[in-house]
């Protein structure tokens, strides 16, 4: 992990401690997109400490009527959130019990449409980029406050970009679907209509050659 190993053992220990803290703080959120097959359910679990606030954002990107069932359970098995056939939603909760919380997405009501679902599960506050930034005793300087403000604003921008991207993916999927349907249906209907008209005329008046010859004879 670290190529330049410091000379003294204590410096190495300190570095390892730093890395350990970094590892401990890093995995604080998950943003995933996955495909949920028809009549299937998929669950995710995460360990949450007591008193920590967590939030779940989810959105259906492609498939069927763009809806999914979702429920969240606490470690004691109580359902703290349940919604059926939702297209997108956001849920925030403060954990009262320490333990493993699970949230599940269910497509069991659908018989033939696969759904692509995006979710963003964030636990707690964002950790500081340097571990010792969290243990400040003095107030932030103006420069640092400005940096914090800009950082928060940029996070909002990135979040809205994500939502915009998901909506656009949804619309693009529908547009491509429409394009395919128009192609197939136009070819199929032309192939089917032309012979149908000819057959109709033939069934009324018989084969063309016979009637023409008949009229000519008369």
């Amino acid at each position: 992990m670290d190529s330049a190993a410091p000379r003294s053992t204590s410096a190495l220990l300190l570095l390892l401690l730093l890395l350990l803290l970094l590892r401990a703080e890093r995995t604080r959120g998950a943003e995933l997109t996955f495909e949920l097959p028809d009549s299937a359910k998929q669950c995710f679990h995460e360990d949450v400490e007591q008193g920590v606030k967590f939030s779940l954002d989810y959105q259906v990107i492609t498939g069927g009527h763009y809806d999914v069932d979702c429920y969240v359970e606490d470690p004691l098995g109580n359902t703290i959130y349940r919604e059926t056939k939702k297209q997108y939603d956001s849920f925030t909760h403060r954990a009262e019990v320490k333990g493993v919380y699970q949230f599940c997405f269910s497509n069991e009501f659908s018989t033939f449409s696969h759904k692509t679902i995006y979710f963003d599960f964030q636990v707690g506050d964002e950790p500081p980029i340097l571990p010792d930034m969290g243990n400040r005793v003095t107030a932030l300087t103006q420069m640092e406050s400005a940096c914090v403000t800009i950082h928060e604003a940029l996070k909002t921008v990135i979040d809205s970009q994500t939502h915009y991207r998901l909506r656009e993916a949804q619309d693009r999927a529908r547009a491509e679907d429409l394009n395919n349907r128009v192609s197939y249906w136009s070819i199929a209907s032309t192939d089917e209509q032309t012979p149908a008209f000819c057959k109709l005329a033939q069934s009324v008046a018989g084969a063309p050659s016979a009637s023409v010859m008949g009229s000519r004879r008369n």
Binding site: T9, L20, A30, E35, A169, R172, A175, S186, T190, S215
Partner: protein
């Protein structure tokens, strides 16, 4: 801790080993369960030149003890990453705990698939795996303490670096947005074209079959002396 070798040789001692072991405890975030040979795929829609780092850790279900074993050596996970065109970018076998990285060269939907192909699991009936997974994309994949140590940055400089990285990610995402909008526009124009041509073709066919029918029926009615 499992000390190694004679005391004289091991300079660092048990605290370091303990810390190393704790560091190796790895990604302990979100987890889910998969079956034996089940494949689980995740989609990441990313702009180009974006780095993606994935960390995973697997645990196996022990049927006798009814608990997930903390770590199982010998378990293997196969990680496969496909780019938007379906070409395989990364296809590697890792151990029971691993870290994979790739950088996208084309913007679009990349697919990350994980499956276990360990034959050992067949011995334990009803094998179930618990997979801890953490995927970080773009700016979130940056390791700031490491950057601070490498470039010797002060706290303020590090904050500025973080802001620069965020802005770069926003720029890349906007470029990707422009590319997506172009694709969407092409699809819509293609649909428009097809609908236009189809309706023209349909009208022409209708007129032609109408004329043919009239001619055909006219000679029939004349023959039957109805007209």
């Amino acid at each position: 801790m499992a000390g190694v070798g004679a005391r004289g040789r091991l300079v660092m001692g048990w605290p370091v080993l303990l810390l190393l072991a704790l560091c190796a405890a790895g990604a302990r975030g979100l987890y889910f369960h998969i079956g034996e040979t089940e494949k689980r795929c995740f989609i990441e829609e990313i702009p180009d030149e974006t780095m993606v780092i994935g960390n995973y850790r697997t645990q196996m279900w022990d049927k006798q003890k009814e608990v997930f074993l903390p770590s199982t050596p010998g378990l293997g996970m196969h990680v496969e990453v496909k780019d938007p065109e379906g070409k395989v970018v990364l296809s590697r076998q890792y151990g029971s705990e691993g870290r994979f990285t790739f950088t996208s060269h084309t913007p679009g939907e990349h697919q990350i698939c994980l499956h276990s192909n360990s034959t050992r699991m067949a011995l334990f009936a009803g094998g179930r795996l618990r997979v801890h997974l953490d995927i970080q994309v773009g700016e979130h994949a940056n390791n700031y303490p490491e950057i601070a140590a490498k470039d010797k940055l002060t706290e303020l400089q590090l904050r500025a670096r973080q802001l620069l990285d965020q802005v770069e990610q926003i720029q890349k995402e906007q470029d990707y947005q422009r590319y997506r909008e172009e694709r969407f526009r092409l699809t819509s124009e293609s649909t428009n074209q097809r609908v236009l041509w189809w309706s023209i073709a349909q009208t022409v066919i209708l007129i032609l079959t109408g004329i043919w029918q009239m001619r055909h029926l006219k000679s029939f009615f004349e023959a039957k002396k109805l007209v």
